[in-house]
């Protein structure tokens, strides 16, 4: 099997895997970074969202070979003091929590691109992350809160 060197959360990892293996499998099963969750497996739910070069991607449908040489970030790479995680705790966003790592990754990427998103921009950017508990309103409020705190 080919070997791949991946830059995840500012650390180099070497993985031996088939080149078509989705990155989520490598993260969860081989590197033990189990923060990113497996949801639907076809890029429809967003639970497996990670960053590649700062843009949010769905880990379940991107093969490991396509991510060589890119800077990857998973939920483990977002610090506990990050404004998004702070506001998530403050507003008690999570209910069952399964989708939340994906939601946070999408929210962080949104705030990196647009530090002051409008409600419409939040809805558009978070459309790819679904939540079966329906915590959408709290997610939206938490993103607005984090946006305020980042600037302050």
């Amino acid at each position: 099997m080919p070997r791949f060197t991946l830059n995840i959360n500012d650390r180099e990892y070497t993985v031996e895997a088939p080149e078509k293996m989705p990155i989520l499998w490598a993260l969860r099963d081989k590197l033990n970074l189990t923060g990113s969750k497996f949801g639907c497996g076809i890029g429809q739910c967003g639970a497996c969202t990670i960053h590649a070069d700062g843009t949010p991607i769905r880990g379940c449908c991107v093969p490991i070979k396509a991510l060589e040489g890119k800077v990857l970030r998973t939920i483990e790479g977002i610090s506990v003091e990050h404004p998004v995680k702070e506001s998530w705790r403050k507003l008690d966003v999570a209910q069952c929590g399964y989708c939340q790592t994906g939601q946070i990754m999408s929210a962080v990427a949104l705030l990196d691109r647009k530090p002051e998103p409008t409600e419409e921009e939040i809805n558009r950017a978070m459309k790819g992350n679904i939540c079966r508990c329906g915590t959408y309103n709290r997610i939206k409020n938490a993103i607005m809160e984090a946006s305020k705190n980042r600037i302050a």
Binding site: P63, A66, R124
Partner: protein, 124 residues
């Protein structure tokens, strides 16, 4: 006076059009990041499993196919739930990125293709 006024008018209206284009482009980019980027990549080149989309939509038939793929999906592509405006924005973004340049596709033609593709068979 006339010689100044006419170029000035061109300038004003030209700028307005450009402004609308950049706004639509930005919206389209957001739609692309949320819905397309995982499989088709940040440069539209696809990856090992999914096809590139960084070529020009040559004619009405390929535009119709693009709209149909978005709305109905195919064997490997799930359908994407986008509004007419989002489809227009994202197609215009794709058609004007990565070195491509094309005429702006108006929302009306997306709506007309939508009604056609509803009746069409799902593409393989």
């Amino acid at each position: 006076m006339r010689y100044i006024l006419i170029p000035l008018l061109f300038l004003v209206f030209g700028c307005k059009e450009n402004y609308q284009l950049t706004e639509a482009y930005d919206r389209g980019k957001e739609v692309y990041i949320t819905n397309c980027i995982s499989c088709h990549g940040s440069n539209g080149a696809g990856n090992l499993l999914y096809p590139p989309i960084n070529s020009r939509i040559a004619n009405a038939m390929t535009l119709e196919r693009a709209v149909s793929l978005i709305l109905q999906g195919s064997q490997n592509m799930p359908s994407v739930d986008l509004t007419d405006q989002e489809i227009t924005d994202v197609l215009n973004y794709i058609q004007n990125s990565w070195g491509l340049e094309a005429e702006i596709i108006p929302i009306d033609s997306i709506i007309s293709f939508k009604s056609i593709s509803k009746n069409a068979a799902i593409y393989p």
